[in-house]
Symmetry: C2
Subunit: 249 residues, 2 copies
Amino acid sequence: MTRYKAIIAYDGTAFSGFQRQPHKRTVQEEIETTLLRLNSGQPVLIQGAGRTDAGVHAYGQVIHFDLPQLRDTEKLRFGLDTQTPEDIAVVSVEHVSDDFHARYQKHRKTYEFLVDVGRPKNPLMRHYATSFPYLLDIEAMQQAIAYLVGTHDFTGFTAAGSSVDNKVRTITRATLEWSSYPNTLLFTFSGNGFLYKQVRNMVGTLLKIGNGRMPVAQIPLILTSKDRQLAGPTAAPNGLYLKEIIYED
Amino acid sequence: MTRYKAIIAYDGTAFSGFQRQPHKRTVQEEIETTLLRLNSGQPVLIQGAGRTDAGVHAYGQVIHFDLPQLRDTEKLRFGLDTQTPEDIAVVSVEHVSDDFHARYQKHRKTYEFLVDVGRPKNPLMRHYATSFPYLLDIEAMQQAIAYLVGTHDFTGFTAAGSSVDNKVRTITRATLEWSSYPNTLLFTFSGNGFLYKQVRNMVGTLLKIGNGRMPVAQIPLILTSKDRQLAGPTAAPNGLYLKEIIYED
């Protein structure tokens, strides 16, 4: 058996998320179907670093899988890339040691979130940015986002009923700037792990602060109180991108 | 009667082009259907500045139409924008004089064309840039594109059988640079008018030159010979954008 690590990009619009679910179109299912064909009809299971939700995009999702043979990585990348549907691209494939695990090996993830503040919204970006055509105090949002950097218990920013016990995570970067797209804001978050819906809840809260319906100090209040009711709504998935994953060692 | 000028943006992916055709989904039909609703069920015909083909996008298409009443332009814009499908946006509406004509009033058009040179191609841009994952000599293309600026007979760059008699047009800008998207080239062409498929034929020829399969001097040869057979293939429509139209006066 040889273990392979691959970087995958996808347009999340037409997927019910990354993870396989019965009777739904998922990224995992499409890649496993292609790997089965490339593996003489023998099933191959893939493990993804993160489970992106329906509508969420990826430029840097990482997966690993095992194949019986040692293959040329560029040929394998090309075969996977061309045989998966056109809303999935296989950016790179490399050999890794047998103990590499896309999900459990320590890593730092970066998510980006695009918000189209134009009025009207850009019809060409309707699946690739969340529209927010209302007044925004960018400076207040930049003050607020800075409170998210550091090691905190992010219970207040995760979905109620999350099954993870330890909700302490470290965010090493949380920034807001204008993107290279017209009238579009770019949020960037890097950290050692993110809870379910954490990024979308942070963005939804920051937009509410920017719109003047919550004070900047709401962020530290949500962190210390761990009260999801104090946070803003969950931002729509179409603005969210899993941008990059960097593994330790 | 009051005449209105509107600027329209659309994602061309799901349209059979701008111009109305039987049994096809077109931009013109969608806007006219919405205007009929906003005009008490009375049909309203629109006139577009340019007829974009299937798959071609627009940020700055201009239309004009007449309504019996003098309406508030922002209310009309908002009504049109929200009632047209989400792949059309109405950017602005203004009152214009009765002799304004979106197509026949003198104007300068700007087209942009995006080429994704990444390997693999970006799955999120598959409808918004033409993929060309082959070697390109950018400098050769920049030398070649400069030959297009000026007043020329562009017969060699239009579709065979075009019905327009006078094929002399003036191009005031023709540039090639890296766009703000990763691994994506941006062609920009401005001029007083473009022939049918002219921009896509110019881009197809420039890509062939960049790929080393035609010399830089092929451009002046096509212009002077007026021979379509000497030009490259027509580039795919998904990279083309009608960016802006500026009227004289």
